[in-house]
């Protein structure tokens, strides 16, 4: 695709109990003693009023929260729901929840946990929250691969299958976590960076 037709119009980074949006530190949580608690505090800080959040596993909570922050700064209102794509990736797929579910199997297998034993459920949760109905894919990699994320998002934006694409990295394993989400749109807005693998990587490392 012609790279100059798509721009990174927003990004959200969540790591080390800090939430950044477009490079600015929005919030840091000094009090949380666990990932679970941090995510709950983040929900109270940035959202609230979405009871389904509390049923989610940590991967979905993290992705949901990152999308919430991202879309508050870069709302997807100019796009048809069918034209908003999601391309997400991580290292551990849903293994964090897989172990929890498997522990329940010895006793009574929990359907509430089983449903979260697929990494793409977080895509479903974000789509339900924001009404997105477009293309999507979940990839698994051993690290954030800017070139791969770029290539897969560019296929969708370049072919017209999507006019906006939320892409990036969402990893949870035990207490280790990291979320880096980008909003990429086929429109230029002030302060937006051209959509390139280099720019994805720079933001990831910032």
């Amino acid at each position: 695709m012609n790279n100059q037709t798509a721009y990174i119009t927003g990004h959200c980074v969540i790591r080390q109990q800090r939430v950044y949006c477009n490079g600015q530190l929005l919030w840091q949580d000094e009090s949380a003693a666990s990932l679970q608690e941090f995510l709950r505090n983040g929900y109270d800080r940035f959202a609230g009023q979405y009871p389904k959040f509390h049923k989610m596993d940590n991967l979905c909570k993290l992705g949901w929260l990152a999308a919430e922050v991202l879309l508050q700064a870069a709302p997807a209102v100019d796009h048809l729901p069918e034209q908003v794509a999601l391309v997400l990736s991580n290292r551990s797929a849903s293994l964090d929840t897989d172990v929890r579910y498997y522990q329940s199997v010895k006793d009574i297998p929990s359907p509430a946990l089983f449903v979260y034993t697929l990494p793409n459920i977080v895509i479903g949760e974000i789509c339900i929250r924001h009404g997105f109905k477009g293309e999507h894919a979940f990839f698994v990699n051993n690290r954030f691969d800017a070139a791969q994320v770029f290539a897969c998002a560019a296929l969708l934006l370049g072919s017209g299958a999507a006019t906006a694409c939320i892409c990036g990295w969402l990893e949870v394993m035990d207490q280790q976590y990291e979320a880096v989400l980008y909003m990429v749109e086929r429109k230029d807005v002030e302060g937006a960076l051209p959509f390139t693998a280099d720019n994805l990587q720079k933001i990831f490392e910032s």
């Binding site: 522990q103 697929l118 109905k133 477009g134 979940f138 698994v140 897969c152």
Partner: protein, 383 residues
């Protein structure tokens, strides 16, 4: 945009270890589904389409694969056969390697029952890398884990990567294994049928699980395509944005994916010879699919589900079923829906009951899965 040809294929399943053997079994009316009494997998007897361990061990020993897990053995056996037929160079930087699965090596969790812990081998990229290394593939495999649409999504992603010029060839493989993990999960949802599954039937009682692997090798090189090879045309993916474990109430999103797949292939519903549906035989899935078929204008098009032959093979389903569909297209034959007797969906659809010859040029493969995902892809004969 170049054409994308299916230049080789393979299926490893209870019905055989080549695509040809599998197609012969399916058209001969054979199902891989049996009643199993295996307390390692389930406290009570259950129906499933399982590979016999003796058979798999024999094939793996012959290929020197004892050091690999069952999941990896399935992938390697499947890729080896397809690669052998294709004549492409897998180590070329112009070849993509895609792996689709839902649970990969999750059975390793079951091998440490006292205190299950995550090990590196359960990471999907680690196992994909191991398989890629077996074939001396040096690039980074593209691993897709997107519930039950994974296999078809992998084919579609490979088609797009080749059509856009990024690669010339792609090895697209996928597998899943029936484990206590997955079976107990579907049982906890009360979703497992007490008899072999009956897609679209009035008396359907849920899914039957299956295991296996499928591989297609795609290429933009027409000269590498055998006579009568099929092409992967356009496809589309959509999300219901409705519920994480229940399908859309209207079928609108799957219907949209079907419409876009046809539209972007330059086709109308009249051009489609048959639809190979997801047809899991749960009450809600088949109902949703019937609605989607109507919304896409496919209410008069013959529809089949292959779940009665293979069970639901999860991350391999899109691959295995696409391959059988391609062969049905090439042989100009409609494949009956095993287990189906009487229509049990609110919007009437033309479920195929008998093997029948029919001239046709195109077919549509669809899949849907947890997380509200749907995918549809058109396959055509090389005109």
């Amino acid at each position: 945009m170049s054409n994308v040809y299916v230049i080789a294929d393979n299926i490893v399943s209870p019905l055989g270890v080549s695509a040809a053997a599998n197609f012969a079994a399916v058209t001969g009316g054979h199902s891989g589904i049996r009643l199993h009494d295996n307390t390692r997998l389930s406290p009570a007897p259950f129906y499933a389409a399982l590979l016999s361990s003796e058979q798999l061990q024999a094939y793996s020993a012959a290929a020197g694969l004892q050091g690999y897990t069952k999941f990896e053995q399935l992938l390697i056996l499947s890729v080896s056969d397809a690669l052998f037929q294709s004549g492409i160079d897998i180590s070329s930087p112009r070849t993509a390697f895609l792996v689709s699965t839902t649970k990969g090596n999750i059975e390793l969790l079951e091998q440490q029952p006292d205190e299950p812990r995550v090990t590196e081998q359960m990471e999907l990229m680690v196992t994909a890398r191991k398989v890629a290394d077996h074939f001396h593939y040096t690039g980074t495999p593209l691993v897709i884990s997107n519930a039950c649409i994974s296999g078809l999504l992998a084919i579609l992603t490979a088609q797009r990567l080749i059509a856009s010029g990024r690669y010339d060839h792609a090895v697209v493989t996928g597998a899943d294994v029936v484990t206590q993990f997955v079976l107990s999960g579907f049982q906890s949802f009360q979703a497992v049928s007490p008899e072999p599954c009956r897609p679209f039937d009035a008396d359907r009682k849920g899914v039957t699980l299956g295991e296996g692997a499928g591989t297609v090798i795609l290429s933009n090189r027409k000269d590498l395509a055998p006579e009568g090879a099929a092409m992967v045309r356009a496809g589309s993916v959509s999300n219901d944005a409705n519920h994480i474990s229940g399908p859309s109430r209207t079928g609108a999103e799957l219907g949209m994916a079907m419409r876009l797949a046809m539209l972007n292939s330059g086709l109308t519903p009249e051009d489609i010879g048959f639809v190979s549906a997801h047809g899991t035989a749960t009450l809600y899935n088949d109902e949703m699919e019937a609605k989607a078929l109507h919304l896409a204008g496919l209410q008069d098009t013959p529809v089949t589900s292959l779940k009665g032959y293979y069970g639901h093979t999860l991350g391999a389903a899109g691959l295995i079923e696409a391959i059988i569909g391609i062969r049905a297209l090439q042989q100009q034959v409609l494949i009956p829906t095993s287990g189906f007797a009487q229509l049990g969906v609110s919007m009437p659809v033309k479920v195929i009951k008998e093997l029948e010859q029919r001239p046709m040029q195109h077919y549509l493969k669809t899949v849907s899965g947890f997380g509200g995902c749907n995918a549809a892809v058109v396959f055509s004969l090389n005109a």
